[in-house]
Symmetry: C2
């Protein structure tokens, strides 16, 4: 094999590591790929770590031990997250977004990969430490951001369904109170998650928290720990939700009389972390 230069190794490694966040790649993997010695690879990784830091592209972590290696995490720093969410709030507070009935049109934002992947990175940044084994969402609109979060965390996505689907096999169903006050049924295949695993709930919208509470209850039926819950947007009212400890990116204040929406970055984004 022709000798591969450092800039080539580093660039290729960057692509490979960042394409699968939170996955541990062994040093041997890269040694084999580039035909390079471990000491050389260690130097490359040290340099790469600095690049990632310098340009605010995330974080490279070296993991020691038998299953050791190097992994990339999409660590979005607080000021960058605040800036991004602030811009998004401005977009969502703009004219023409309030729909008849006092709803906010957000489907475009929730399915724009550039926006969604960044939201996933911001949410993942908050929950790496909690080490979820999977991300749970309830169909439909939260699926892209839940997927992006799962991708950034390097874990599977699990989608709860609104009604039982015969083609999912044996399922557990649970009733919950929907945003409009009616009773909904939430359904998940028994084989979708393992007992004793750890779950992060991600969804697009939190109002009263009925659906979120349903997901928490559903996970209890599966014997799964809920380690956190994150939402793209929550409403300012009611202040008290049916769940606690959640993190939302944005807070919505809807004035139904004047049909204007004010969307603000959530308070926690103003902290330093």
């Amino acid at each position: 094999m022709e000798k591969i230069r450092r800039n080539e190794r580093m660039s290729a490694m960057m692509k490979i590591l960042t394409a699968e966040p939170n996955k541990i790649f062994t040093l041997s993997y890269f040694c084999d790929l580039f035909g390079a010695a471990k000491s050389t690879m260690s130097e490359d990784i040290d340099l790469l770590r600095e690049v990632v830091n310098q340009f605010g592209l995330g974080e490279l972590v070296t993991v020691t031990g038998a299953a050791g290696g190097v992994r990339y995490r999409t660590k979005v720093k607080r000021p960058a997250a605040r800036q991004f969410v602030g811009d998004l709030c401005q977009k969502l507070s703009g004219p023409g977004r309030v729909l008849p009935g006092g709803f906010l049109y957000s489907s475009d934002v929730l399915a724009d990969p550039e926006v969604v992947s960044r939201m996933g990175e911001i949410i993942a940044t908050e929950y790496y430490a909690a080490q979820p084994d999977f991300v749970l969402t309830m169909e439909t609109k939260g699926i892209p951001v839940a997927y992006a979060t799962a991708h950034a965390l390097g874990v599977p996505l699990v989608i709860a369904r609104r009604a039982s689907k015969a083609y999912e096999g044996s399922e557990i169903n649970i009733n919950y109170v929907t945003g409009s006050g009616s009773i909904g049924t939430m359904s998940l295949s028994r084989r979708a998650v393992k007992e004793g695993s750890r779950c992060l709930i991600v969804d697009d919208f939190l109002k009263g928290g009925g659906t979120a509470k349903g997901m928490v209850d559903l996970m209890r039926e599966f014997g799964v720990d809920v380690v956190g819950s994150a939402f793209v947007m929550s409403t300012a009212k009611p202040l008290r939700k049916r769940i606690t400890g959640e993190k939302s990116l944005m807070v919505l204040e809807m004035d139904t009389e004047t049909e204007t929406a004010l969307v603000k970055p959530a308070f926690w984004l103003h902290g330093d972390a």
Copy 2:
């Protein structure tokens, strides 16, 4: 600013370009970011193009003209795509996946980011040339792969809903024949897509093609061109679908008597391209 070395510039550029496939970054953008001359950046990009080629990581394309610059595309070569899909077929043909009723359990595969992002890259590779303006899918199970495809193509995702949702505003509804032969209603907000734009349909499963045909009809109502359709899996029977020209990654032959499933890579993956 401290002088940034070539290996640092190239690594950072790789991350930035590959994080947003198909987006054109101007040379000036990188010149400003790194405090480097255009000639230097051109050299960096030439080297980066070789790296991407050599390690099968996709494709870097230089775009000339007023809106020119450089963009990354996730070009998956045919043999690599075949290998990946072949492994997936083996997994899906394994024991214990056929559910009562002769359905195949695939929800885990359809929501595993490592699998889904690769499927999105493979589908995007086939449709860059068709220049879709957005990806359309029908809720629910196809959303992750449709999102991954949209991300790879650098275009928005649009999700058609099963029933009209009051909070999406003014909508267009269309009736379609579901897989079980009943009539379903498909719904999309009027503001979700622009007349005259180009659509790529992506979904998880193609059997008779009723849902896919519904999406095609829906797009006609919006005055949108359907430039292609791609599916994770299609059934061998019926051979004749309600739509034509589609590409599936896998073909499913289900023996309902013995309750065994045989999943094969689609024929087109065996070609050279």
